[in-house]
Symmetry: C2
Subunit: 279 residues, 2 copies
């Protein structure tokens, strides 16, 4: 099976490694606009060959679109224009806009809209890791818009990666990820800026920062080239969640200002309820 | 060496394990107001014997005060009242109020105010783990107020635990921990409440939650009995940081509302600077 990876970064690179290791692909072609990424991807053995897009697509059975979502949105119609029997899947963090971008495309059926719920705060080919994706969820959106054989191939890919499949429509997906992923990144970015703004003694942070701080702030290392387009595309859902989050923070602020520690305790006890729904 | 642990929970229990393992203590006495905790601590082998406070203190070389900080503040003067040559250290998350509580005590010198920068979101004796504290910082506050032999014993304890020592005054400590620990807990509690408030489809969170969400929200499982007193005692510093954090979040909100993605990118790039100061 020949697989083309477009965008050989954290997600594309980790998929390339996994699909070779699992024996799904004996030939991985890499497409990337960034010369450094192309060279690194080859050097790291993530891909077998570097190629330009039309050629790579034409030689492939499966095309994985793993660029930032604003790029994917532009590339996907171009890929469908030249695709024949190929299956094309994306792995982007929002699903509504990319699905709309090809909704009336005559070869819409060859495309499967997906989102594997795995990532780290790092990016680029050197961020690719073995064993990524395992035991996480892979979302497939608008399955009924895709050809049956295309969906089956994508399901096979995700099962090989050790993921469990979840099906939902693109609009619902975008609401849910605002809660379980996008808001976490905003709070982490804002927390980093809070500390960088007011805590002038960086040495003290460096010395004292413990596991708790690191875990809430590590996402703040994430790449703006990936995240700005996500916040653009999921703007309304993210704003809804962000407004609610600021409201919740104001409750903590009010408790401290008014020294209402009974209510503060209730807020914390309520937050403890997250244990119910976290694995 | 006989060591008394008062409050045999996450921190006290983990210290008990480490001090036995490292050969510092051949006899660990446990004091705890909670019957269940006493039984569990014995059953888990965290302590050798359960005892009441005056007796345990009198039989000890070192007393480790590991109760919630509002309790420690009350117990510490009582312990100093009966202490002779014993060394008493606390391990609480704020330092100003406990130091003030014994500032003019005739036996102030026997007390060493400390804060080991390690913890998890779990509490109670069953949360105690082996290998805790390693490679983290231990803060010693107002060293000059303590007797030299007392400081030396505490330094020895923390070095045995594999920690590096940091010295600062209690007021500076409380400001720094507002940044590197307390605000992380508030954002995490508020994030949990945001999701629990608005996301009605808990199954979807459960299915989709990935590592990023889990790492920003895991602190929301933390125990209110520990955290309400911390926020009470460090109220002014936490309010300062919380106000700044809300201001930072509002900048993200304004970017999204005004669709100012250039500024959004700048905010994220600025947040990326946290890489400089995180290990």
């Amino acid at each position: 099976m020949t697989v083309t990876i477009i965008g050989i970064g954290l997600i594309g690179g980790s998929m390339a490694l996994a699909l070779k290791e699992k024996g799904f692909s004996d030939r991985v072609l890499g497409v990337d606009a960034n010369t450094m990424h192309r060279e690194k991807a080859l050097a790291l053995g993530l891909v077998d060959e570097i190629m330009e897009m039309p050629e790579a697509v034409l030689q492939s059975d499966l095309v994985i679109l793993a660029t930032p979502i604003n790029v994917s949105e532009v590339l996907l119609p171009q890929i469908l224009n030249i695709a024949g029997k190929q299956v094309i899947m994306d792995v982007g963090s929002t699903k509504k806009i990319i699905c709309e971008s090809v909704a009336i495309h005559p070869r819409r059926g060859r495309f499967v809209a997906t989102h594997p719920m795995w990532g780290t705060e790092y990016s680029g080919p050197e961020a690719a890791v073995r064993g990524a994706f395992e035991e996480k969820a892979a979302v497939i959106c608008g399955k009924e818009e895709s050809d049956r054989d295309a969906v089956e191939m994508v399901e096979q890919v995700y099962r090989l990666l050790g993921m469990h499949l979840v099906y939902m429509d693109a609009r619902a997906h975008d609401v849910h990820v605002a809660y379980v992923s996008h808001i976490s990144h905003i709070t982490s970015f804002a927390l980093a800026n809070t500390v960088l703004e007011k805590e002038r003694e960086e040495d003290a942070i460096f010395e004292l920062a413990s596991g708790g701080f690191e875990s809430t702030v590590r996402l703040a290392k994430s790449n703006p080239a990936m995240w700005v387009p996500i916040f653009m595309q999921n703007r309304e859902n993210v704003l809804d969640v962000l407004n609610e989050h600021i409201t919740q923070l104001r409750k903590f602020k009010a408790c401290l200002e008014k020294e209402n520690y009974t209510y503060l305790e209730e807020l914390i006890e309520n937050a403890n309820g997250i244990s119910r729904i976290l694995k």
